[in-house]
């Protein structure tokens, strides 16, 4: 398959505007500005079946179509570059190595929803990426791609960059908007949805970096071409962030619907240390794991992963071999969500901490078997009962790990310690300390 989202592997200097232009850059924008009406852009993206890459997999064209056509208020576009999901590292490469592709996507999206201001919200740690993008914005502005009267079309777009202070919740679309407005990133109740009342009370589209990067290609090559990549309902190229116990971890661009097994064993070069696969989390820390057996059959697209009992989320694929303590993994995940829960809703604020406290005891061998049922119950009390899905993001792996690896939890209770640690509580030294050099980005 032709590389689309990771073209820097083929064209090393594509981050530069002249190189980007020489390789067809901003041609899609020209087409969107001069040859297409905004409705036609939206329809093209709708027909492409492009679905949001930030984790929720919502159809992008449909999202755009929710923006009121005759809005008296300004319309804003927000590019979500708050990539924070554990095990996810696609956007940072895109921003560093091919920023113009994202910018072109933003500009086309602005044209589609008639937005004249776009914000790029970077996660707090993306200082370097933000600088790179700002350089690209300056270049693009100098060439008339950003600012007033873009390419002589009479259409204006200003792009502003904003860096958060480093909280996971800022990546949640309404948390992002609150943070952008200078407030605590407390996610908002919906309704009203951002399409009606988003940034500064105005209609707003929030799209992920990777989602927007697909847009120029859809405009350039058409929805039919795009739909031909991967499964019809969930098509397109996808960036997979492969990490954990594989020989060649890294960022891989593959068509949607790529078999998980092939991702791990072919692309990823198999399990490290010659060990066997034990579990894979397919979409960042927020979702239930697949056992080795389940992983054999799963195709990596939104619908197939869902049908198999998990979610593809951000496609942060975390691979764990058989020397991995599942209790410790869940404890780590619980620690993350406890630390990142904004604390707005009661079930999430209290539940995440509760699960982490129980998991600390469980991993240390101080837990009780009855704690497992308490945790399952706490998880079900958290799930679906909060403003945003952060509570679900811990509830789902909690249920997944405990139900799929229950015996391992019970072993901890029975032994009074972690079976993967020595008697002093130390984990075995990582034999996989030195990763082999792969052709990852």
């Amino acid at each position: 398959m032709e590389r689309i989202l990771t073209r820097w592997l083929d064209i090393p200097d594509i981050r530069r505007l002249d190189v980007y232009e020489a390789n067809g850059g901003y041609q899609a924008l020209r087409k969107a500005l001069f040859d297409m009406k905004p409705e036609e852009i939206i329809n093209e993206v709708k027909n492409s079946n492009l679905r949001g890459r930030g984790g929720a997999a919502f159809p992008t064209g449909t999202k755009w179509s929710f923006i009121p056509k005759d809005s008296k208020k300004p319309v804003y576009l927000c590019c979500n570059a708050d990539e924070s999901e554990p095990g996810t590292f696609a956007n940072r490469y895109q921003l560093e190595f091919d920023p113009h592709q994202v910018l072109e996507g933003i500009l086309i999206a602005c044209r589609a929803v008639n937005a004249h201001v776009a914000y790029m919200y970077f996660r707090g740690e993306f200082t370097h990426q933000k600088r790179t993008v700002e350089g690209a914005i300056a270049e693009a502005r100098a060439k008339g791609y950003i600012g007033k009267n873009i390419m002589g079309s009479g259409f204006d777009v200003e792009i502003y960059t904003h860096r958060g202070a480093g909280a996971y919740i800022c990546g949640e679309e309404t948390g992002l908007l609150e943070s952008l407005e200078g407030k605590r990133a407390y996610p908002r109740n919906r309704p009203p949805f951002p399409a009606i009342q988003g940034a500064f009370g105005c209609p707003t589209v929030v799209n992920n970096v990777e989602t927007l990067s697909n847009v120029p290609w859809i405009i350039k090559k058409g929805a039919d071409w795009y739909r031909s990549i991967g499964p019809e309902k969930s098509p397109g190229p996808k960036l997979f962030c492969l990490s954990g116990h594989v020989n060649k971890p890294g960022l891989y661009e593959l068509p949607m619907g790529f078999p998980l097994k092939d991702l791990i064993y072919d692309v990823g070069g198999g399990i490290s240390d010659g060990r066997k696969l034990k579990a894979v989390i397919p979409g960042g820390a927020s979702f239930p794991p697949f056992t080795a057996e389940e992983a054999e059959k799963v195709m990596m697209d939104f619908d197939s992963v869902r049908a198999a009992g998990s979610l593809m989320g951000t496609a942060g694929v975390m691979v764990m071999h058989d020397d991995t303590c599942m209790v410790d993994v869940l404890r780590t995940i619980a620690h993350f969500f406890h630390h990142e829960s904004c604390g707005q809703c009661t079930p999430c604020r209290e539940g995440c901490g509760w699960i982490e406290k129980l998991m600390i005891d469980m991993e240390a061998g101080r837990g009780k078997v009855s704690d497992l049922d308490v945790m399952l119950n706490v998880a079900s009390n958290m799930e679906g009962n909060t403003i945003c899905v952060l509570a679900d993001s811990l509830a789902m792996p909690t249920r997944g790990f405990i139900t799929k690896f229950r015996s391992e939890f019970e072993d901890h209770v029975r032994l009074g310690r972690c079976p993967f640690r020595d008697r002093d509580g130390r984990l075995a030294p990582p034999a996989h300390a030195a990763y082999q050099e792969g052709d990852h980005a």
Binding site: H339, G343, R349, E350, C352, G353
Partner: protein, 527 residues
Amino acid sequence: MPKLTIDGKEIEVADGLNLIQAADQAGIEIPHYCYHPGLSIVGNCRMCLVEVEKAPKLQIACNTRVAEGMVVHTRSARTRTAQKAVLEFLLINHPIDCPVCDQAGECKLQDYYMDYDQQPSRFSLGKKNKKGKAIDIGSDVMLDQERCILCARCTRFFDEITHTSELAIFGRGDHNVIDHWPGKPINNKYAVNVVDICPVGALTEKDFRFRMRVWYLHRTPSVCAGCERGCSIDIHHHRGRVYRYKPRHNPDVNGYWMCDEGRHSFVALQSESRLTTPLFQSGDRMAAEGWQPALERAAARIMEIGRTSGANAIGAVIGAQATNEEAYALKRLVKTTIGSDRIAGLCWSPPDASGDDNLLIRANKNPNLRGLEALGISPQNLDQLSASVAAGQLKMLIVLRADLVRALGEQEFLKRFGALDYMLVLDTDANETGQMANQLWPIAAFPEIDGSFTNFKGRVQRLQSAFAPPGQALSAVEVIARLGRQLDGNERVGSAEAVFAEMAAEEPAFKGLSFGGLGPHGRDLVA
């Protein structure tokens, strides 16, 4: 008017209501913490989760608008499970220090635990998060961060009502705490409202805490006399003592709020200087006597002056602190029974008093100036009165709730009124004017009387007696009735209700109003 079904009950409610309000109209309580009708909706406590048919997830009732054909279950198994879960979550890091918590008895955690939860905690005590206790955060407010459930009512109050944003949430997740900005404690005239709206014991009032267990308190609806706004209040009292005022919701006057000044205005009414018996000047000191000799003494003096100098030698000064009924009764007494038309009002605010603001506080600290004006008793007439004193035409003054000496200053008072032969003062305290009186009669203070005030916008609202006045003190309306009978021998009903009825019949501004018809929110003056 959408029709919907809540717990099998079909109801029709106004469009735009949320499910908490709609259920309330059907007599069904949906428990909630963060929702407050006077504040924006944040939906963070998750206590009001209810099952709405056709919605896959439970919905928060506070942020769900009623819709035609909606079917809601507030007591279904799913709803119950969610309610229990939220309570369990709220309590895992809560110190459960009810025995030493001042909120006990009016705590929504306690109440809802009893109503919706009643299960032992599955969380071990040793793992509770530790946060700040008994923190003085400024104004009259104390903060206990461990008891806080982070509903953000207090932060929203300062953000949305006073627009001053003194409080904020700091930290993240279950380490979140409410606090003020570093080095900037609350300094706000409305601060104690956050104590009222705090559903738990996180925010308590410095003045009130540890003074009285709330279950001993009785509540009597009344009106604050702190300024001409006349906020609706509940008097919380026990055994003849007021412990606190709480604002009472009145959409036409004060909304849900009141100011801290008004809230503490009862303190002055419970001072050591309260009068408990009629006094008269005996040589160079004041001596006590019973009501009958006191009434006879005053009546004799009124008749004597009337005989020698004419009825117009007797006048009255009525403070804008007096109720409509008191002012009307004294006006009737002076005009009809005595036959004088020398009546003036007195409206005076201390020079250091707070000025108007754009929320509730008014610079005029007199609760009933508009009522006096509606009765034709004008503060402008005071100059005419003092001119008549100077001219030797006015010999005797009946002074009701008007501290002339303090208002004018002693020198000025003596210059203008020093020539009076006789002064009868009706007041609650032995104030400076009372100390110069020939007779000083004890009357009931605001928490002790029935009556009404007319606020500056012409809203007539009821005061209700919470308890009897101290000692021999009587309501001023009763005292005036007794004095009238002493003068002409005619019986008068000394109740505020009877006086109000007479006032409504006689005074055009009060036409059509009735005491009982004022209701909890009051009525507007006719003109």
